[in-house]
Symmetry: C2
Subunit: 210 residues, 2 copies
């Protein structure tokens, strides 16, 4: 584990902290689609992403979802942070977007290290800031963009975290992430294709115009 740790967090944390993480953290690999955290759950450990990507979702009262943002390597989930602290339940769902490697830290350590390591403190505050910024970006998309713009942005974001300009997804699953219906997505995808921005195939979409 120490190798992955140094590679991804070595520039952030001092050696003493890296060693502590190595001692108390558990290394975990999960497949695409694996649900890491569910809404309403108490959190017992916080994840440090080593590789892959995780998508963070919100749910409405009918159980329909909405994608908030993706987190990638070098990130942690700030939602988890606050859940840990106050023994609160998770407000969001976290699902592996790609096969993902992570290090799980027991929550007690989180606050212990806050006082002990300045670099940990900075990391946590920086994470909060980053997640806040991403929530604002999510709000911008939802409140200010039309569905066709949101869709194209979604496709580009998804291509980005998958490091691939061909994304494997069905129209129905896009509809779930964007909290709309499959028919709407099919319609808008077709018009994006007609504009020459994407190429549609069964179960995959190629982005042409970045």
């Amino acid at each position: 584990m120490i190798t992955e740790l140094k590679e991804n967090y070595g520039y952030l944390f001092e050696d003493a902290l890296l060693n502590e993480i190595n001692n108390v953290g558990t290394y975990k690999e999960v497949p695409e689609g694996f649900q890491l955290i569910d809404i309403g759950e108490y959190i017992k450990s916080m994840p440090l992403l080593v590789s892959g990507a995780v998508k963070i979702l919100r749910e409405d009262d009918k159980g329909d979802e909405l994608l908030l943002y993706f987190i990638e390597r070098g990130d942690t989930c700030a939602m988890t942070l606050s859940c840990c602290m106050g023994q609160k339940r998770s407000e969001i769902r976290a699902v592996a977007e790609t096969p993902t490697k992570l290090i799980m830290i027991p929550v007690e350590k989180m606050s212990e290290w806050m006082g002990k390591y300045k670099s940990w403190q900075n990391f946590i505050l920086q994470s909060y800031h980053d997640r806040m910024t991403e929530l604002l970006e999510a709000i911008d998309s939802i409140a200010f963009l039309k569905m066709d713009e949101r869709l194209f942005k979604y496709l580009k974001d998804k291509a980005m975290v998958n490091h691939n300009d061909v994304i494997n997804v069905t129209h129905q699953n896009i509809a779930f992430d964007l909290h709309t219906s499959r028919v709407v997505i099919s319609r808008l995808l077709k018009s994006l294709e007609n504009e020459g921005k994407i190429k549609l195939n069964r179960n995959n979409i190629k982005i042409l115009d970045f």
Copy 2:
């Protein structure tokens, strides 16, 4: 200042910290409508709310606004926190919703106290968590509610922070906060009135059904 300070933050902070705040903080009273922070600004001090309420707004690329949430006494602005830290520009606008009293803390102190006072550290983390929760609530409203539901929720929230079931506002200003048009608001307000939920008057609206 020390009186207001103890009254509002005495249960949170130890005496040593209260004294430091008293020494380096500046007490400030601002009228309704006063703009405390603008988008793109660098932040030189962070506000602790003593009384009143502040509304936090986001702006689209056409310059139209969207209300994110209100903050009240005992709160601080977590956006400010992150702006301070990284010397980043503000992502939001903060405007006094009512006449407001606040204590301004120079930003250097913020991170100094993070290491020095555990209670300050907890306060900052708790603030981040609260603001995050409020952003999620904003997303819920925007993404999951129809405009008439958003409007009624807005009216109730506004009545709440003003401690008054009669709110003084024009249809146009509601439209600005909800990022829609005056005509839409007038239409929906009229139907809320017909449902017996509110009573409309020129420049003010009375909430009947809480």
